[in-house]
Amino acid sequence: MSTPSRLSLTQAPPISVPLRFFFTAPFFGILAALVQINAGPDAVSQWTPTTLAITHLLTLGYISMVMIGAMSQILPVVAGSPLPRPLLVSSVVHTLLTLGVLALASGLLFGRGEAVLIAMFLLGAGLTVFIGAAAYSLILANADNATVSGMRVAIVALAITVVFGLRVAAEHVLHLDLPIAKSWTHAHLTWGFIGWVGILVISVAYEVVPMFQMTPKYPQWMQRWMTKMILVGLLFWTSVYLLAIIDSTIWNILTLLLSFYLAIGLSVFAGVTLYLQSQRQRRIADLTLKFWRLAMVSLLLCTSLWVVGQFWPSLGNWRNIGYLNGMLFIFGFAVSVIIGMLYKIIPFLVWLHLQRQNTRRIKLPNMKEIIPEQRIRWHFVLHLMLLPLLAGVAIKPVWFVYPAATLFGISSLLLLFNIFTALRIYQGYYTSM
């Protein structure tokens, strides 16, 4: 049977739609490094104003920024279903998100309720527009694609993260110091990390790991059930965890069991990915593969550290274990995946859009020439060096905080430079066509 393809010719959004998000992210990385350098070793701990500020410069300004840009690009390619009004939606979301992160980070850093209040409006509005647009396109998309169904779950998780985020932000505006406050924060960060970042990476992995790294496909049961099982686990965990506020042993044990369940889920994902990568057809290890591997190893370290902490009281009581875990998740897992993906997506986008404009069929650069391989390799080395330094920061802040923050600042600067190079090539050819 032959089916004429959808002849809507402008499936892919203009190149400026995803690129504005990608280009902004490294600025927030640099800013986070500067804030940490300025605050010094004393600020190294969970819940300090500095940590809250850099956490959001990274989770919203860097990680979510890129993930939103990547979704605007991936939806039409993988699902054949673009975001509605991509130019308008991306301008609105990008502007509100950028201003919102700046307001939130400065509000948390300087303890200014007004700034946090402004951030609540900006981020609430910006992320709601994105969630709405993504939901619209995901509803229209082909449902039996595992990436699409996973992205739906990730969008639900983002919405819940935002709701909890607004809830804890309201406490900062009103300067409430209720005893239950940290429970809401915990629910907020768990949904942000496992739900939004974790599930989105899993959904994207189903598509890109076999495709770019020439590995076998993820097992069918996993594609079908994993993201949904994590969602259900998170929902149970949240209800039980928030009930455990009414301190009782049963609820606490249930919370712990559900946390194990979530940790096992993430570890299975990381383990299967590493296994598939070891089975790949092509032996040449390209750099994307290395970034993904690093991400999976970090994720396994993260979940193991957490589990060990539950059984080994002296480690569990160590003040910085949560800090280290968070940093491993952010830099080791999320940022590694993001850098690896950006170095695939950006050259591809530049090349693709040049091809589209190339009606005179002049000779175009090869995709590999758009960002030199050598510079990506440098970036990998810098990023790899960062991870042991982070462990150092958690153990001996006085020694390690400056080298680690400086290294991440340089790494973000290199990312910015590489993206800029790709844009220059695009513009150079674009104007000559």
Binding site: M1, S2, T3, P4, S5, L9, T10, Q11, A12, P76, V77, V78, G80, M211, F212, Q213, M214, R282, F348, W351, L352, Q355, R356, Q357, N358, T359, R361, M367
Partner: protein, 89 residues
């Protein structure tokens, strides 16, 4: 001259399928079309083809998941050949 140019890209990692097929469009003589065999629908390719003056038609394939037929906008002979192939096979 053969009317059909078969291009099996189903084993190639991205971006090679796209690179290969775009190279092939440059060599297409009048009356010829490409039958691209692929493991997935190449949505980004459709945009490029439209912009550089090619038509395409996609159907579920026999050997691979998808078959994409590609020919020049103005090439009526190729278009007829595509429709005959699709109607016949």
């Amino acid at each position: 001259m053969k009317q059909e140019l078969v291009l099996d890209v189903s084993d190639l990692p991205p971006p090679e399928p796209l690179e290969k097929v775009l190279e092939a469009t440059e060599t297409l003589a009048s009356g010829q079309y490409i039958r691209m065999l692929h493991r997935q629908e190449p949505f980004p390719l459709y945009d490029v083809l439209g912009d550089i003056g090619f038509k395409h038609l996609t159907r579920v394939g026999q050997k691979t998941s998808f078959e994409i037929f590609i020919w020049r906008n103005s090439d009526e002979a190729a278009e007829l050949a595509v429709f005959t192939t699709i109607g016949g096979a």
